[in-house]
Amino acid sequence: MNKIVEKEFFSENVAKIVIESPDIAIIRKAGHFVIIRIDEKGERIPLTIADGDKEKGTITVVVQKVGVTSAKLLAMNEGEEILDIVGPLGHATHIEKKGTVLCAGGGVGVAPLMPIVKALKKAGNKVITVLAGRTKELIILEDEMRNYSDELIVMTDDGSYGKKGLVTAGMEEVIQREKVNMAVLIGPAIMMKFGSLTTKKYNIPTVVSLNTIMVDGTGMCGACRVSVGGKTKFVCVDGPEFDAFQVDWSQMMMRMGAYKMQEHEAYEKYLRTVETVA
């Protein structure tokens, strides 16, 4: 159960992991996520599904090392098993023909964006995709995204690859040039916040996918709650996708940092144990 069948590092801290999960592989759609728990003492974390293969019974996630659980996951080898996977969770992305859709992905946010781009394209939209990262190493899934999009623009903060500049510069370029009917933004909260400020200027309806702290992922705990349009929403059962203009970004970012200190201490401790073992 839940065997890791493939692991491929995109960069030092980011890897694609393909996991055997036949039930979820059959039913999952773009926008869905899973909750995983690595081992008996592990925490439950949400991961958005980047891809799936019904025939092989596998799902794909992309993981960035940010703390103990992601580090442990990246340290697992092909053939090893993840203790618990549950899903698919959340509402699937609402896919329809809108015309021209601008999709922007930052960092590992590109992974959950991929199935959405694929589905939007299949629904007959013209899809223009902007991939952004700090440096060349952090641009992921470029070939796949180029393949599924009508046009692909790559942006790096330091100009080490593609065009130099932030994701918003790439978005502006497209919006200035042609009529955009809808935008989808997935990435770090700060990227989604500024990305949606850009689309708001031009009144382009914008969807974001939030990746907040969760425990059960089924609406039971409310850890993932965030204010959307002045109302408290649960990302796990009401989302994960929301109207970007309604999200209270500062509250969301504040809530993302709830365990910053604990996470930092736990990670330091983890690194010491890893060193001792090595």
């Binding site: 003492k41 089924t218 409310g222």
Partner: protein, 495 residues
């Protein structure tokens, strides 16, 4: 269930019961004092997670069993939602047949060690006991005796497995492994069905695991009761969300003929007051899940939780008591209940309120939060509360709390747990378009069969009641199992 009164009556005329009644005069029986449950010292237990009540001894159990008059019309049994043959098991204790007592309880109760610990007996069997009603004396300690029987059997290593009818090969699914689901699964297995329980979390037990703390209901005890259900042939499938991982239609295709939905009230309510989303403000579900299910307070577990010096728990139910006592155990200097009515109106079990008081929990009754404030990192550091007074009784029969304008004041808090109730979990209802729901999001069922508007779907527990007790959920599970049996047998005959 209709024959329950007769069944309970029948045992009373067994010769051993007649002999036993004759062996002691009523006057002597009623002269004994009610047994007192031994408990850990409050000042020690409020720093550990060991069970508060340590259980009564054999001698204490027998002494208590002498008090029971083995009434001709045992009113105690009317008060039991799962219809336990109370006099029969108590009289088995009196003749020192402790294993026999456990067997009697398990005829109708799938989780005796659990119910013996968490049932509000004072509102059920013990309330309708002859001692309470007619003698105006403390009732027989039925709950303590139930717990004693279950614990004795477990510790004896000779746990009996209830008789299971020959397999009828009919597949049925139970959605959710909390109290209602387990009760339904147990009864359906006894009737010979091929039962699979689907659970969304990684552990079986629902609220018994994620909600009720170790100091009130140790997880090991829940696990052992689940183990005996496995021995009865019940299959469990964790990490499986019916409505998500597979639809009801998918499961029908896999051969499931009927469903019991006991998916619980898994959607915490908040008060929607300013600042409620600051860090350090949890729903009771989140707080208790992190600690009970994820073991966040242990250093070697990866799940984090925030600790508080000044902890406020909002609410007056059992979950509020569990939360506030948990916070105390995790080192809070002040651990406070903030409840908008007075202590008399609290829905929590009386024993839990007493235990909390003994453990130095502060009770701020007739107070209600109005706003939260936070430090520069967004961590709650202060709350504004308003005084309340009681007005006329409302629909619940309890006196309505009325705010006293201008009475607001602030207190320092660094952790807040909101335990003001739960709403039904939306996942199952939203996956079944034809399912009839109430305005509150609960599933509409026929009270006698627990059948929903979709004939092969039955439901019970909090998804129907919207937030009740373990034992009421179990009662629903039993009624539903009987309803499903009737429905399925009629279908079999029709074919």
């Amino acid at each position: 269930m209709e024959n329950i009164a007769e069944y309970i009556k029948e045992g009373r005329s067994d010769s051993w019961r007649i002999e036993l009644r004759k062996s002691m005069k009523t006057k002597e029986r009623t002269s004994y004092e009610r047994v007192k449950m031994p408990e850990q010292d409050p000042h020690i237990r409020n720093k550990n997670s060991i069970e508060v009540n340590s259980g009564i001894s054999e001698e204490m159990a027998i002494a208590e069993s002498h008090r029971c008059l083995d009434c001709p019309a045992p009113t105690c049994t009317i008060g039991c939602p799962v219809g336990i043959n109370i006099p029969e098991f108590i009289k088995k204790i009196e003749i020192r047949d402790f294993l026999g007592a456990a067997t009697v309880i398990k005829e109708t109760n799938a989780l005796p060690a659990v119910c013996g610990r968490v049932c509000p007996q004072e509102k059920q069997c013990e309330l309708s006991c002859f001692y309470t009603q007619k003698l105006h004396k403390p009732p027989i300690a039925i709950g303590n005796l139930e717990r004693f029987s279950a614990d004795y059997e477990r510790n004896s290593g000779k746990m009996s497995i209830p008789n299971v009818a020959e397999s009828n090969g009919i597949k049925v699914a139970v959605v959710g492994s909390g109290p209602s689901g387990l009760a339904a699964a147990g009864d359906l297995a006894k009737l010979g069905y091929d039962v699979t329980v689907f659970e969304a979390l990684h552990e079986i037990g629902g609220v018994l695991k994620y909600g009720i703390p170790e100091f009130r209901l140790p997880n090991d005890i829940v696990d052992i009761e689940i183990e005996s259900m496995r021995k009865m042939g019940v299959k469990f499938h964790t990490n499986f969300i019916v409505g998500k991982t597979a639809s009801f239609d998918d499961l029908k295709e896999q051969g499931f003929k009927a469903f019991f939905v006991g998916s619980g009230a898994g959607l915490p309510r908040f008060m929607n007051i300013p600042g409620e989303n600051f860090n350090g403000i949890f729903s009771s579900n989140e707080y208790l899940t992190r600690i009970n299910l994820m073991k966040a307070a242990y250093d070697d577990y990866d799940t984090p939780v925030l600790f508080g010096k000044n902890v406020a728990v909002i609410g007056g139910g059992n979950t509020a008591m569990d939360s506030v006592r948990t916070a105390k155990r995790l080192g809070a200097e002040r651990s406070m209940i903030i409840y908008r009515r007075s202590i008399e109106e609290m829905p929590a079990r009386v024993e839990e309120v007493h235990h909390a008081q003994d453990e130095e929990i502060e009770f701020m009754n007739l107070h209600n939060p109005v706003e939260y404030f936070a430090d520069e990192n967004g961590r709650v550091n202060r709350m504004r509360i308003r005084k309340m007074r009681l007005g006329e009784p409302d629909a619940s029969g309890r006196r309505r709390p009325i705010p006293i304008e201008g009475s607001e004041f602030d207190i320092a808090v660094d952790l807040v747990v909101v335990a003001v109730g739960v709403s039904p979990n939306p996942i199952v209802p939203s996956s079944l378009k034809d399912l009839k729901m109430t305005n509150w999001g609960t599933i509409v069922v026929d009270k006698d069969t627990m059948q929903s508007s979709i004939p092969n779907i039955f439901a019970g527990g909090d998804i129907v009641r919207g937030g009740a007790t373990v034992i009421l959920a179990m009662g629903d599970g039993r009624v539903a199992a009987a309803g499903m049996h009737k429905y399925l047998q009629e279908k079999v005959k029709a074919n």
